[in-house]
Symmetry: C2
Subunit: 406 residues, 2 copies
């Protein structure tokens, strides 16, 4: 089977590029560190006998020919950009599991029927350039190349400029490609597998996401001489909204999340009643009606709270991804591979967005999760066990082999 | 009586120094604009026949001799520094009402028994240099001169350096002065007088204040894959604290305030559960036991919330002023002056800190409030009616005259 030691060594070698003192990785999309990581991936794939091409948004495709060149490729991949305080495994595991699949097939002298492709998708994290899952989104025609190349980072550098600067604006066309099947291995980024003592998560689908910006406006006034009953305190209103987002998510279980990630009170002076609060709302659910029901419940609280405290509000949508169910055949391929390898496994739903979600628009897609320590991700202390990573890679190999002969 | 037109003209002339486009004033303590305002005050007082001295922390004393030089002076004053987005009246009204008292006495050829002093206290606002009420605090020996001169602004400039730069580090000793009586006229900075349709607030005392910094720590994690029941969301905890501060203040009426002025969630990313929240708590009450009871009630909520959500917390005191009751004689002097002038008046409690609170440590002190439009202060739109300001000044004149012959 796969060489878990080799997979681990590659992960550790890649993690050198942008290594942080706290043991994490800071390798933002389309920086020179990203270029170095891409160069390393390209070298490893060429050494494994692949043909490497790069498309107009910087996605890198390493192709291992099959017996039948007319078949659409069986693909795998993920991303090698990281959060500013990211870990070694988020994304990189999926890419290097793909590389390990290539190496294992070479070791075993196996030729597949369909060609295989291992892909590095550009800017999955969305940290430097929004939105996230940018490369796979362009590949799946969710975003146009033109609008995407024009997106700018906080310094005003565009995606197009950054791609040219690192030499990864490639000639391959970005869209119109057939996908035989797509599998993506990823750390769970949550605590369920660890909690349940399972090695493999058979990913059934992913939660739908709706994000909003919410601004509450009251009246800034002095914290001493302004009587409580005459205040229009935007933060008191915001606190009711934070509580409601949490409560409504608990009431919409299972597969419901509600998070306020950003909240700032203005003007932000100890003895001034906040006249304005800006916050973000992130709702996730597996059922579209339940997702909307969460949002309606919170909207009701926002309206009632604003009426009670004399506030006005503005609620602006910033992201909208519907819930996604992966292809039944791919789900069964992953489950079958785990069972065949004697690995403990369970069905699971992804709470996070992944490139596989966009790939599912183009062909049958599925995902394989492995546990991460304490369920912690997007954090420099992110960790995963070498045996679990090897197990996930072995499942990926089996699933891809099954798809490539089908 | 006093010349309301002249008082208004002086207020408008002073408001030119640091005037903002929104009609407010930005004249931070010990800046060159503050120097210009001080120079104008000094000129006006010298023109009114006063002797002007400056002490080591920059407090300016304009003295009008009385018949009996051995008597401790009857003083009035306030401040001419402003908030960064401040108004024309907060502080300046008290100082210029004092100047108008001098001018009126000159017009009427009245000599008082005790000397009179009009004082500009350095840095009441505390915006550039903390703490607030700095000059009066040094005068009342609440703070030492040495520690005060060493306080630095955000740019690292010390109070001592700033005083020297504007030429207002004076030779007069900062402490040990006798105070015959102290009266301070001020806009209310709250909505009660306007709401009740009264011209004069007879200030009985000021709320005690206890301020805290509160940090809540949970665990930063991904907003999608982390199930609701396993989260340690610091912001959900903070929301419960904000709600409790508000509720507890409502339950401790009358004369109770509870405000969270600053709140920030970290790391502050849309799809990351906040692992840390830093916030400020401002509690005010007229009764010390009720002030402590508010704090104990909120502390109970903090403890219960942290236990419920798996958070830790740190609660650090940052300010502690006990409630203050002004001198009964001064209160009656203000009430009697208002009644004698036929002005509608009511007893009121100051929700804000004022220089008079420190002066009350040194001698009998009292305050006179006049309404401000909508109760709004610490805001560029702060406004007050010329007739109300003239009325407050007339009350100040009567109260000072009564004290100076007593
Ligand atoms: N995998 C991942 O972290 N994606 C970012 C988008 C999300 O918040 O789900
Ligand atoms: N008058 C005034 O605004 N003082 C500042 C201190 C306080 O918050 O009460």
């Amino acid at each position: 089977h796969v060489n878990g030691e080799r997979l681990w060594q590659s992960l550790m070698e890649l993690a050198q590029l942008g290594a942080t003192v706290k043991g994490g990785v800071c390798r933002l999309a389309l920086t020179d560190l990203d270029r170095q990581a891409r160069d390393l991936f390209v070298r490893w794939c060429e050494e494994a006998g692949c043909t490497v091409t790069v498309d107009g948004v910087g996605n890198i495709f390493a192709r291992r020919p099959g017996r039948n060149a007319a078949l659409a490729p069986v693909m795998t991949g993920s991303h090698i950009d990281t959060q500013p305080t990211g870990g070694k495994f988020d994304g990189c595991f999926g890419v290097l599991a793909g590389v390990e699949v290539l190496r294992t097939l070479n070791d075993l002298g196996i030729q597949t029927e369909a060609p295989l492709e291992v892909v590095v998708w550009t800017n999955e994290e969305g940290s430097r350039f929004a939105p996230c899952m940018m490369g796979s989104g362009v590949f799946a025609e969710k975003f146009t190349l033109e609008e995407t190349l024009a997106k700018r980072d906080a310094e005003g550098i565009s995606v197009g400029e950054a791609l040219n600067a690192i030499g990864y604006a490639g000639p391959r066309t970005v869209s119109g490609h057939a996908v035989g099947a797509y599998f993506e291995a990823h750390i769970e980024q949550g605590p369920i597998l660890e909690d349940q003592g399972k090695t493999i998560g058979v990913v059934l689908g992913a939660l739908g996401q709706k994000w909003f910006d919410l601004t509450l406006k009251g009246v800034e006034a002095h914290a001493g001489p302004t009587p409580m009953h005459l205040r229009k305190d935007a933060l008191v209103g915001a606190a009711a909204v934070v509580a409601a987002v949490n409560r409504v998510a608990l009431e919409h279980q299972p597969h419901a999340c509600g998070t306020v990630g950003c909240l700032q009170a203005y003007p932000g002076s100890r003895n001034v009643i906040p006249g304005e609060v800006r916050m973000t709302l992130d709702f996730r659910h597996l059922q579209p009606e339940r997702l909307d029901s969460m949002i309606e419940a919170v909207r009701g609280v926002i309206e009632a709270t604003c009426a009670k405290h004399g506030l006005s509000f503005e609620l602006t949508p910033t992201a909208d991804f519907p819930p996604l169910y992966f292809d039944q055949g791919c789900i069964e391929a992953v489950r079958g591979a785990a069972a065949g390898l004697g690995l403990s496994h369970m069905d699971i739903v992804s709470g996070a967005g992944h490139d596989a979600i966009f790939l599912a628009e183009l062909g049958p897609a599925g995902m394989i999760f492995v546990p991460c320590e304490g369920g912690i991700s997007h954090n420099e202390i992110e960790n995963a066990a070498p045996t679990d990573l090897a197990a996930g890679c072995a499942v990926l190999l089996r699933a891809m082999l099954a798809a490539s002969v089908a």
